[in-house]
């Protein structure tokens, strides 16, 4: 037989090499792995880090026949160490099976830790790991983070509930869903930003305010409450829905404006050395609740204008209040003003970005809010 041509032989050999790239040894059967869906990082009493991993117990979920009613669908495993990697290995001493991070949904950092360590360093492992997705949500808990991974409800996996609440983005009283990947970018550019704060109320989680992370130090410096989050959402125009109080006097009966869309435009102005911002906020929506329509019929244009005006005033109050808090109390820009300046005046930005947060506290900001009511709902002027 003729000798094989070298090109044939070589290509055959290199094709065989293809089969060495993977093999049974990389097999991880799903019934053996521990599917981690959430993790909480806390400061332990001895000053180290305590990490808690939440594993799902699949057969305790849903309609499976073998399900025992008392069993919770998750188990939390925690260990202590100086950083996350050794803690992860520590947990394998206590529970069989490798850890799969591909379905990690949430990372919760305790307030104590967030105030002391930079966010970037705490979450480094989550960025570096190939399996863990960049879309994993990040939260900061007011109290101990590990306790937010527990629930009294039998059928609930707390980490997944947490993410589902965050992803629905229903009200302007919560921040928009923040993924790990976004915090990565913000941490690296030393921008200040907000992370959703969660709290425990009667053993169940609640979204309550936001943690302010200072760009320079990358550590948590303070808390914005729900109302101030509303202001942030109006400034950035990122809210999707929610309600605004639309009456002025305390004696009036409640009128509420429901947001259907909101838009905001932050416009920087630079004259010489002076920087200022104009923020134009627009919103369309409907009257969601109007307790007293007999008095002033909703069909009348004048009434509509009054309600719109009241809502505008309320929004104005919210954004001004939040701005004050940003500029005066914390001295950080978490409303995205710096970003707009960077886009529209890149040369100016180059000069100020070094100490933008300090500079931001001095900058005058004017707001212009306009609200349009598109419909009154099902009830008009007629009696109920």
């Amino acid at each position: 037989m003729k000798k094989c041509r070298p090109i044939l032989r070589n290509s055959f050999v290199s094709m065989l090499l293809l089969f060495l790239l993977s093999g049974c040894w990389s097999s991880k059967s799903i019934e053996d792995v521990n599917i981690a869906v959430g993790s909480a990082v806390d400061k332990s009493k001895d000053g180290k880090i305590r990490s808690t991993l939440q594993y799902v117990i699949p057969h305790a979920i849903g309609t499976s026949n073998s399900k025992s009613p008392q069993q919770k669908p998750y188990i939390n495993v925690s260990a202590t160490g100086i950083s996350l990697e050794p803690i992860g290995w520590e947990t394998t001493l206590r529970r069989e099976g490798p850890i799969s991070g591909a379905h990690q949904k949430a990372v919760i950092i305790g307030q104590d830790l967030a105030r002391e360590e930079p966010i970037r360093e705490i979450t480094d492992l989550y960025f570096r790991d190939i399996e863990i997705r960049g879309s994993t949500s990040i939260f900061i808990s007011k109290g101990e983070a590990a306790r937010t991974l527990e629930s009294k409800d039998a059928d609930v996996i707390p980490a997944i509930r947490l993410v589902e609440i965050a992803e629905q983005e229903l009200t302007t009283r919560a921040l928009r869903h923040l993924s790990l990947m976004k915090t990565w970018g913000k941490s690296n550019s030393q921008t200040s930003f907000l992370i959703q704060l969660i709290d425990l109320k009667k053993g169940e989680i609640e979204f309550d305010g936001a943690a302010v992370i200072k760009g320079r130090t990358n550590k948590m410096i303070g808390i914005l409450n729900k109302e101030e989050i509303e202001g942030i959402n109006w400034i950035t125009g990122e809210g999707k829905s929610g309600a605004v109080k639309a009456f002025q006097k305390e004696s009036d009966k409640p009128i509420y404006y429901q947001i259907e869309s909101m838009k905001s435009k932050i416009k920087p102005h630079v004259t010489g050395n002076r920087i200022s911002f104009d923020v134009k906020i627009e919103s369309e929506g409907r009257i969601a609740e109007y307790w007293d329509p007999h008095f002033k019929p909703a069909f009348k244009n004048k009434t509509i204008k009054q309600i719109e005006h009241a809502a505008e005033k309320e929004v104005m109050r919210l954004v001004v209040n939040t701005t004050k808090k940003m500029q005066k109390e914390f001295g950080v820009d978490v409303g995205g003003f710096g970003n707009q300046l960077r886009i529209q005046y890149p040369n100016v930005w180059k000069n100020v970005k070094g100490n933008w947060d300090e500079k931001f506290s001095e900058i005058p900001i004017t707001y212009d809010v306009s609200i349009t009511i598109k419909d009154y709902g099902m009830i008009g002027s007629k009696k109920n």
């Binding site: 089969f19 790239l21 993977s22 097999s27 019934e31 799902v56 979920i61 849903g62 379905h103 949904k105």
Partner: protein, 521 residues
């Protein structure tokens, strides 16, 4: 390499054929001519074929002349109608009046040919071999005392069945005509449906011992002459004692016997053959087989049904895409499942992975073994259902399916999701209009499962690449198997994965190099 081996095989066949010939030599040398003496001739023939119980000899006299006549035929095979109503009646009532005295040889022969015998097909033979073979093929031999010529009358009258819709290739719309076992009926059907003077039907014989008629059918003014030449050559090279079915022909003329894919299309449907002929392909029909062979074949033909052209183009296109999709599932369904759950849990949506993991809990086997158990039992069920009588076969299918599916899950041997995967895969493979493609994909499915269990998704992709590289190399009668996808011709894509409206299909497929490329003006 491969073709060399092929040639070797062919040479072996030829050698054995030669040997067979040599064995037959003594028989062929004993060619005897008929002497004209009826008693002697009959004895001679009796010696040759008289031991067969179904060979009948009948002697009688011609009318009043007293000339002895003998007819030899095979009972039940030769046309009894011709014997009773023509031969016997004609001869027994014949009275060559004009002469009176015993007729001379030549005038007697003329008289019989011209006046007495009222049948259309009449052959004269002289040698013993011709007579015996004629009788064996169903003719009636007439021996007349004093004549050195023997008349062979008529052909076999085989019992044929009705022309039905083929059971293996049903369709909702379209002609309900399928081929039957009788070649003459089949060619007549083709003539009737393809009313074209260029429809050529050329006969040739295959089989060394049992000689069967094989016809090559093509459109004279469309087919590529080189292709025709190639087909003829391959058929001439067949040297085998007997072909029982056209599938013998298929296996003997195919390009690559190592490939799992069928390289010749076999069909019972007349319309499929006609449309193939109109595209410039060649069909082969073997006497005794209802399956016509179509060459050359491309892979996309095997996923098409004649119904694609009978339905309107939108429905046809969607159904065709669905068929490609189900072919994909039939090939990769279980292997993707294995790959995902044993290598890439991260690629499954979170909620789905919980339910899959929950059902896998307590299953003692790794996914590959689980899949093999289910797939093998499905194959066993399918085979059992085929071999059993129809009514039992169906109930076996149902009972077996229920028992295996339900009980295996109850017993915790397999997971319910595995049962779903296997069932969906099996049903997907049934949507393929050609049975032999289904078999090919079923075989490859097991290979793909092995790849998946060892290498994961990466292995499935490797397997797909291997398969692709094989398919790209494969040719059927010089036509690339996966054309028009490879050896790209945009024009032929009109009738590939999609089926454009008929008025846009103006040209015949270019890949077949038709002489007349215009289909529609």
């Amino acid at each position: 390499m491969k073709w060399r081996r092929l040639n070797k095989n062919k040479m072996k066949i030829e050698e054995s054929a030669k040997k067979a010939k040599q064995d037959k030599q003594p028989f062929q040398e004993s060619i005897n001519e008929v002497t004209g003496n009826l008693t002697a001739d009959l004895n001679l023939i009796r010696k040759e074929i008289g031991h067969n119980s179904d060979v009948k000899f009948r002697e009688f006299q011609m009318g009043t002349t007293g000339i002895r006549i003998a007819i030899i035929f095979i009972d039940g095979f030769a046309d009894a109608d011709v014997i009773n109503n023509h031969i016997l009646v004609d001869f027994m009532s014949a009275s060559p009046k004009e002469t009176g005295h015993p007729l001379k040889n030549s005038s007697l022969k003329d008289y019989i040919k011209n006046q007495a015998l009222s049948v259309s097909g009449l052959n004269e033979v002289r040698t013993l071999k011709d007579i015996t073979s004629g009788v064996m093929f169903g003719s009636i031999a007439i021996l007349v005392d004093g004549l050195e010529d023997v008349f062979l009358v008529g052909g076999a009258k085989a019992k044929t069945r009705n022309i039905d819709e083929p059971a293996t290739e049903g369709s909702v719309r379209g002609p309900r005509v399928g081929f039957i076992e009788n070649l003459k009926d089949n060619t007549a059907l083709l003539r009737r449906h393809g009313k074209d003077q260029n429809l050529s039907i050329i006969s040739s014989q295959v089989g060394e011992r049992s000689k069967k008629e094989l016809v090559i059918i093509y459109m004279k003014d469309i087919v590529d002459p080189h292709l025709l030449e190639e087909v003829k050559q391959r058929i001439n090279k067949i040297k085998i004692d007997d072909v029982h079915d056209s599938s013998y022909i298929e296996q003997l003329i195919e390009d690559n016997f190592l490939s799992p894919f069928p390289q010749v299309q076999s069909t019972e449907r007349l319309d499929r053959v006609m449309s193939a002929l109109m595209e410039g392909r060649i069909a082969l029909l073997l006497d005794g087989s209802p399956f016509a062979l179509i060459v050359p074949v491309t892979f996309h033909m095997l996923l098409q049904s004649p119904e694609d052209y009978y339905e309107r183009w939108m429905a046809a296109t969607l159904i065709r895409i669905l068929r490609y999709f189900s072919a994909f599932i039939a090939l990769f369904g279980p292997s993707l499942y294995i790959a995902f759950i044993s290598f890439h849990p991260g690629l499954i949506p979170t909620k789905l992975i919980f339910s899959i993991a929950a059902t896998r809990e307590g299953v003692p086997f790794p996914p590959l073994i689980e899949a093999l158990i289910m797939e093998l039992s499905i194959e066993v069920l399918r085979e059992a259902g085929l071999r059993l009588p129809k009514p039992i076969g169906q109930s076996i299918g149902i009972v077996g399916g229920l028992v295996i599916g339900e009980a295996a899950v109850q017993a915790g041997i397999v997971s319910p999701i595995m049962v779903i995967v296997v069932a969906v895969t099996a049903i997907s493979s049934f949507t393929l209009p050609q049975y032999n493609v289904g078999i090919a994909l079923r075989m490859l499915r097991f290979a793909s499962m092995l790849f998946a269990s060892v290498f994961g998704l990466y292995g499935v992709i490797l397997f797909f690449l291997l398969l692709c590289s094989h398919l790209v190399r494969l040719k059927s009668f010089g036509i690339p198997y996966v054309s028009p996808a490879v050896s790209f011709r945009l024009n032929d894509w009109k009738d590939f994965m999609i089926r454009v409206p008929l008025f846009l299909m103006k040209r015949r497929p270019k890949l077949l190099h038709p002489k007349d490329s215009v289909r529609k003006r």
